[in-house]
Amino acid sequence: MTATRKPAVDGVIQEFGANKTRLMDIVMAVQQRFGHIDDDAMQTMATGLGMHRVEIEDMVSFYAFFDRRPRGRNRIRLSKTPVSFMKGAKAVAQAFEQVLGIRIGETSADGAFTLQWTSDIGLADQEPAALVNGMVLTELTPADAPLIVAALRQPGNTGDLPPYPPHAAEAARLPKSTTRSSLIQTGPLLSGPLVRAAGIKAALTLTPEAVIEEITSSKLRGRGGAGFPTGMKWRLTRKATGADHYIACNADEGEPGTFKDRVLLSEFPDLVFDGMTVAGYALGARNGLLYLRGEYAYMWDDLQRVLDDRRAHGLLGAGVCGKDGFDFDIRIQLGAGAYICGEESSLLESLEGKRGSPRDRPPFPTERGYLGQPTAIDNVETLVCAARIIEKGAAWFAGFGTKQSTGTKLMCVSGDCQRPGVYETPFGITINALLDLVGAPDAQYVQFSGPSGQAVAPKDFGRQIAYEDLSTGGSTMIFGPQRDVLDIALQLADFFVDESCGWCAPCRVGTTLLKQGMEKIVAGRATLADVAATEDLANTVARMSRCGLGQTAPNPILTTMRNFPELYEARLAPTAFEPLVSLHDALREAVEIQGREPMPREA
């Protein structure tokens, strides 16, 4: 680091009060300034924060969006999901490779571009999509690649690093930077009139205990997919002793195929903040934290504007809505590319500026969460529901859905269907009904609730979308008859390899071994014993992993094995044993170097 950089890094540290729990922001700011975090910057941060260099590197090296080595000034991250691949992402990637003269994962010689794959960016209904310097581009075709690169190369765009979080004005200069509204069907939750702060005002006429009582009697359950009763979570948090209480909104919407939180945050941000404020009142919290996934950094400016406006209107700050003693504000914490941070205890670690590894429970976050204080962590959609419940009453809410699954669910539909997007549907509708709604008459199967959910075959399309039957966080990826089920299972297995945090052995090693097992199966080289071994391994990973990521990572394999045994059977090698690596593959490198195939064996 040149001598001129140290003061800048020190300045960033001071900007965040030399508070090591703000390390995410500090690292992000340093990276924005210098493009990457080098050894000297880490040492400066360690000294300034009273930490060890190894602790800084532990955290920096964990997140996909932080770099320890210089990369291109412009970052092109292409969304890698089964849906993006179906819609042509590979051809788009090739077009970028050609225009830039580099391969995926590489940086151009002039230091202007780095081209990468990235995990799902929350645009499954508008794939192929990409993040370019944090800005979002949708429905890309190979023909767009040269235009995008040319726009990024325009004069004035050289030398300086592009702003991050990005500004809308920058995005407007790029082709394909307009996103379509994903909201296709609204129901009672999102239908008007939606009056800002209506939920807060209703809450303030009640005691905090009565607010929790109302949420409890509405039978609201967590919308992230786990379905924990929200009223109980709030009650446990409120009654837990601590110097402070916190409400954390989980906007780390990383489950491939999910994009409802993007819709809520971009089209209904006030409802989200209303929900957080209602929760803050109910819990006795003075601070709310919105954990926004790094992929959604392009919403940063707009969300900050909404927060500023709410402060100006007395909806945040001291004495919210004129209520004496109810002081509440909201801070947005931007993530940096890690699916695991959607797991609530990893989210807390990340909020505290650490690597996003899950915590062992107990203690639960309701007792010891953010900074060791009682914390309720709720999904974006859950908080929107809470705001509407307090506004319109528990009975209104419980009037929709089923007995055990009250209200509506935002279903995110993508893949082989005529009308992909977000649909607000009451709980209890069948998969068949949803498929009719979105125009998917010939679905071969549905990857339900994302990779961590299950592959649902047509025989189960009559089942209900509800906690008591098919529980979901909303992701619904539809695959038509032309799709290769096993190849999709392999892609989802690969996703978990990228996103395993590495803390526990079964998930860290098991996800890689499972992917390799699936590769052999998909290649038609697996024997019956290999398939059985992969299934055994999948079950071990599910049973032994520390957190939900590892416990659910084998689901795409296990549920396709269960529902499509005939497809696995059709791929079996006819032999009793097949080596892991074929001779041809083992010799590939040598063949490339020598430019000739090995001599065929003499007969």
Binding site: D39, H52, R53, V54, E55, E57, D58, S61, F62, A338, R355, D360, P362, V497, D498, E499, S500, C501, G502, W503, C504, A505, P506, R508, V509, G510, T511, T512, L513, Q516, A533, D536, L537, T540, R543, M544, S545, R546, L580
Partner: protein, 240 residues
């Protein structure tokens, strides 16, 4: 002050435990061996290896991080858990590079000893052959990351026992590695051979130089008795 005691059962055997104990601590005291790898009695449990996972009141949980509670019903020594644990040990074997026949720790290695105890003949999973860095920069200690199983013992020992924070992790997922607190390697850190962190490694990732092979093969800890025998002896000794 005497801590409150209570009881729970492991495979049908009643065990007495006191407030504040984890399941594994209470079982160790009672002479019931739960196979484990990353857990070390002197250190905070990190729960990285998951080998000590038991079925605790119907749910799989790691015994090292689960507080003991009255009335728990725990399954430990079952064919399914043994198979799962064996697969975990296999995973750790194929993840790194473990040349047992000539490894300095052979016979003294907790990973190897668990492989024997759990009936692992040879890994059935494909070797990953990772390329990992050796660090010989320290005058008295070398780091052979090929053997590292990312248990986090040295990280905790250095931070909490030695007050140094010499170690940490780097990267994530299958690319995760043990890292040291200096760009120049272990030799540039505060590490000393007498540190607790130098003595807690369950394998042979952290090795003291010039002390290897002083105990000949065949005479080492687990050459004589299987791993866990010391714990089981407590039960035999207490209740003949």
């Amino acid at each position: 002050m005497v801590a409150e005691t209570f009881h729970f059962t492991v495979d049908g055997i009643e065990i007495e435990a006191s407030e504040g104990q984890s399941v594994i601590q209470a079982c160790d005291d009672a002479g019931i061996y739960i196979p484990r790898l990353c857990y070390h009695p002197d250190l905070e449990p990190s729960g990285t290896c998951r080998v000590c996972t038991c079925k605790i009141s119907g749910r799989n949980s790691a015994a090292c991080v689960t507080p003991a509670a009255h009335g728990m019903v725990i399954e430990n020594d079952t064919p399914l858990l043994t198979a799962d644990r064996r697969r975990l040990i296999e995973m750790l074997f194929v993840e790194g590079n473990h040349p047992c026949p000539y490894c300095v720790a052979s016979g003294d290695c907790e990973l190897q000893a668990l492989g024997y105890r759990l009936g692992m003949v040879a890994p059935t999973q494909p070797y990953q052959w990772p390329n990992r860095k050796i660090d010989a920069s320290h005058p008295d200690i070398y780091l052979d990351r090929d053997r590292c199983i990312l248990c986090a013992r040295c990280i905790d020992a250095s931070r909490m026992e030695d007050g140094k924070t010499v170690f940490g992790f780097e990267g994530r997922g299958i690319a995760m590695r043990l890292n040291v607190d200096a760009a120049g390697g272990l030799g540039d850190t505060q590490m000393a051979a007498i540190d607790k962190a130098a003595s807690v490694c369950p394998v042979a990732c952290i090795v003291i130089k010039r002390e290897s092979y002083q105990v000949p093969n065949g005479e080492r800890r687990f050459d004589k008795t299987p791993i866990g025998s010391d714990i089981e002896a407590r039960r035999a000794g207490r209740k003949p």
